[in-house]
Symmetry: C2
Subunit: 453 residues, 2 copies
Amino acid sequence: MMEPTAVLLPAIREALAAKDFRTLKESLEEILPPDVAEILRQIRTDEQVLLFRLLRKDQAAEVFANLKVEEQKALFEVFTDQGIKAIIEEMNPDDRTELLDELPAGLVRKLLQLLDPGERALAHRLLGYPESSAGRLMTPEFVDLRPEMSVEAALQQIRWTGPDKETIYYAYVIDQGRKLIGFVSLKNLILADPDKPVGDLMKEEVIAVHTLDDQEAVADVIKRYNLLAVPVVDSEERLVGIVTVDDVVDVMEEEATEDIQKMGAIAAAEEGYFQSGFFSLARRRIFWLAALLVTATLSGSIMEHYASAIQAVVILAFFIPMLMNTGGCTGTQSATLIIRGLATGEIALGQVARIILRESAMGVLLGVAMGVLGFLRAVFVPGSDPTLWTTVGLTIIVTVTAANLVGALLPLCAKAFRMDPALISGPLLTTIMDAMTLVLYFEIARRLLHIST
Amino acid sequence: MMEPTAVLLPAIREALAAKDFRTLKESLEEILPPDVAEILRQIRTDEQVLLFRLLRKDQAAEVFANLKVEEQKALFEVFTDQGIKAIIEEMNPDDRTELLDELPAGLVRKLLQLLDPGERALAHRLLGYPESSAGRLMTPEFVDLRPEMSVEAALQQIRWTGPDKETIYYAYVIDQGRKLIGFVSLKNLILADPDKPVGDLMKEEVIAVHTLDDQEAVADVIKRYNLLAVPVVDSEERLVGIVTVDDVVDVMEEEATEDIQKMGAIAAAEEGYFQSGFFSLARRRIFWLAALLVTATLSGSIMEHYASAIQAVVILAFFIPMLMNTGGCTGTQSATLIIRGLATGEIALGQVARIILRESAMGVLLGVAMGVLGFLRAVFVPGSDPTLWTTVGLTIIVTVTAANLVGALLPLCAKAFRMDPALISGPLLTTIMDAMTLVLYFEIARRLLHIST
């Protein structure tokens, strides 16, 4: 199950070598598009072109949609214009929008020229919606019914038009002005009396999204109501498309990747690891690294400010890595919990009071636990004394409590200012935590150890 | 669309206050289960019990399935045994397994006692599969057909048995021994000649998972092939259940949350922020914090080892936060990229050579860029000199290059040893990066500044 292509590849290779196109064509018929895509990755370019010619038109388009952008670009360079036209014309409109979205503008213009006028207008229209919007994600290939139709007539229409639709399991009922007025599932239709009008059967409370809604909102709706598809309406409530659950699954994966990257201090992009260009990835990483290095100036300045304290009691410096790490880790933990809670919709801004209460208590609990551990750790450092042990323990209690609350509040502030909470984790949090830890440490030390600065 | 309950809640509240049960019953009929669950959260317990009594039996079960564990537990305490029985008997088997999974053993025993023998045996069987396995996730309520049936007979059977099935859009064909031998979609059936036998229509190459497969593997299959459901077979290839795409959407969200938490140094759990108990969350956080504090001993010991160097040139200490942060952040970045790539399946262990090559080049590029920046930063520190500037710049080049490669390799090693790569990020990585940075820094400084230790 896990590696279906491992079994198929040798047979395909053999048939290619033997130029046994008939066997090849027959075995390709049986292989699912994602698996054909997998096989394509493992053969030479001339063999790829050959394989594509042997695929059924609709299969070729689906295999193509399963490839990654740079693989698609590479193939466009070796395909004839006729071959390209055949593929992009056969692609589902939503897959095609996704493809055109990612290609350079020059190539997009060329590809649009190849399309028939109708398909070209459609592609233009879909590309006109903002990036990451429901409009970009949707397909106009849905089943629409009229309320006065009988169930039997509706089923007949689904039989006729079904093969071209993205899904036939959900049908949407529209009025003369194409306004969305109801919804029936194929399940409802199949189980209903054939003579009943669709209007009597349909649910009038239809869950829909707007063309300009963000793809995350679309995913949330599908997830919340366990839908197979959600209808997309324009500003006049006219039905213009549907987004299906398989697209939402991809969106969820993309969004999780973006959040994880931001939390890992990498400017986010939707592409995977190998898909990202080397220099574009380097740029996305250098940005945060440079920001961190520049802001670390703050920690440096704080250390400079307390230089005399370090000089007087060098042993103070030994604990700096431990203190910074403990504070930083605590802040990262609470920030992570809040960022993820905001992302999954479990946490709302209205719950700030409850979060402050919870995280204050949590901070004190963690602080005391870590403070005791830190105190014990300090006891084992040669040349240390009870005052230093106390300094270390006390610093941990205070910094962990503060770091925990700050880590929780920063993403909430970001959200309140309509920024992305995930951007908070990483360098910004680290800088704030480090500076806070150092100041607290040296101020506590100065007082307890009676050092003048 | 976004807050449907905000509109409904006032009307519900009013009807509750006026004890207008008829209106209440009618308006509840129209509200979808996730929205009823939302409304329940915002009313008193006695009102909750009342509302549940007004719901249709199947609706009550669905609303209940949409609540969170502690909400479910709280309701079980106020419901009568009869009320509990009605709900858990009406629940979908997969929702019920999920519920029983999360309740304390004593309560589970009590609930199982309430079930009818047939349902009890089923619940026992589903709970018998390992946690997070396909068996736990599946429902036995699927449509099964026999190959000799005509399309018309198949549609008739779907009409009869459909209302109780989790989905009727995919049907599975089994032989006399209940072995899975084929698959037809309702789309295929609707579009086919009514007299044709199902056996002629079905696809014989069925994508299936095994009961013991991990839920992540199930999610991968559904994602890869854009399925609405996947059949689950036992060790003898007999069809025992299906997993539907809506469950996989939940699994994906859970898995992303787990990975994000692990990367944020929190022992992972599937629950959301407010769902986690205060002390259970504290335990999950203290583990990593304590681990970090203990391992930070290493950095402390390194600093102790180079105490004389710090004492001789106190200015060296000023750069420690900047150097540690830059190294740590670089390591986190490359670890994040690899961990996410492994999680989405884009990166496989076989690509180690390519990753080492890419990350070595990336490390040198980032190292030189950051080294130049660090050098310039050092120039502005009062009391520094060209040798110190060079020490800082050189340390950054070497540590960033090394941190980048180590950050990428650690998750790959974890994967190779069948550990969870996401566990690598966080404390372990930080400790290694810190120790590496400090040793490199002091060794370079010792040589360039001619300090004896």
